[in-house]
Amino acid sequence: MIRAIGPHPAAAVLAERADALAKGRKRAGPAATGYRRARAPEWIVRALAMLAGIVVFIALWEIVARQGGRIPGPGVVWKAAVTIFSDPFYSKGPNDQGIGWNVLSSLKRVGIGFGMAAAMGIPLGFMIGRFKFLSDMAAPIIAMLKPVSPLAWLPIGLLLFKAANPAAIYVIFVCSLWPMIVNTAVGVRQIPQDYLNVAHVLNLSEWKVFTTILFPAVLPYMITGVRLSIGVAWLVIVAAEMLTGGVGIGFWVWDEWNNLKVEHIIIAIFTIGIVGLLLEQALVLLARRFSYN
């Protein structure tokens, strides 16, 4: 069975449970006992804790930087960042473009690769979830291919497409495909029998069953799949671009390594982190919009 393989289905459930817990905690709040102690509101405490974490992080970084070696300190990196982000969209030929262009071209690859994975993975997931035979057919293949690092597919991509850019997109496609298939299939299998009974007693047509019952019921699972896929894709694109070159944040990291501009590499790390965070948050919001509990 597909259910048993890899971290995805379990991770999906866990992530949802964590979300629900966090929501519940927020609602229960400190006033749950009926007593109110004069205490700073929860969000201020949280904000302070986050701020403290960042301060500690920067202090440690500064200490490490002062030990000599080649790691630039926060001050140096900040100055370099101000310069870089003051003109993010310049373009001096294919090998020298602003960081904005690099991020955008990476996002574009992720978007195209993921889009194709969704277009193929979602229907496949529906079929695998609906028909036991297909599920058993696909299970060993998916179980075997899912743990493979997406980068291992890169040479195949280069061979097939004879160009770097489509090969990178192809790698994103491969790594996004599994979470989409698996989560959609799990979602289809988790549809409560009650809903299907409604469809049965009304004798709804297959199309009506799909649009009014299957699709809305599976949507939250699909969004979890999207979240996992995009997360993995954003991890993988950096590595893929390091190998393929061209324009992109991963290539930029490699390029700056060759120029020995370590502060730029650190800027790239933060940029990748923040973009990944924003992607994740956007999808969490989307998931909340479509959850019905």
Binding site: D194, N197, V201, L202, N203, L204
Partner: protein
Amino acid sequence: MDSERYLRIENVGMTFETRKGDFVALERIDLAVRKGEFVSLIGHSGCGKSTLLNLVAGLLLPTAGGLLLAEREIAGPGPDRGVVFQNHSLLPWLTCFDNVYLAVERVFPDEKNILRERTHNALAMVGLTHAEAKYPNEISGGMKQRVGIARALAIEPKMLLLDEPFGALDALTRANLQDELLKIVDKTGATVLMVTHDVDEAVLLSDRIVMMTNGPAARIGGVLEVDLPRPRERLALAGDRRYIELRTTVMDFLYRKQLKQAA
């Protein structure tokens, strides 16, 4: 058409294949329900009363015997029977209105212009006009069950099938909905088959109570005519001698003749 035998359950048996071998849930069930009659199936849990209801609904097919509704064999589920499930089974992504509309639209596809009106009427009948635009998770359990009833009634089924419809509700809400159902049934003259384990509910609502023996291989242990005049009124009946007699008969069957060993 034989309205004395509107629903005919003839020599029905139901055997499930399980990993441990065959499990006989029902054996030789014979029952006829009149048009406009309200029949309750009562018995201990596991006696197969829900299985029998699912057979009438067509969600299960019998392994022996046959079922006929209005002279036609029941070969599968269909909108000529309105089913109210215990856990309301509303689709959470549709409003109350749309949940009912889904059923109406399926059953009366040629009457496009009055679909919405039908839906409104069904919801008005259960007193939920004000909650039409709400989603199921925004209303109480009792209201959800009302929407379930509205959905089942809106398609004007030949028969209404209720599977422990008030089982998940608190006592006050349950009493409230029973009264409401009583009124609706009096008004529409619906033919109803209801599964319950609540003795008062069965006596208050039914024309006949079918008492089932314990499974496996459950059978009909006895049929009780409830000869209380209609319209019935809960408070007036509470001290009524006949009501108490009927109630005692069912209790006697359930707790003396069919006492279930503590599981």
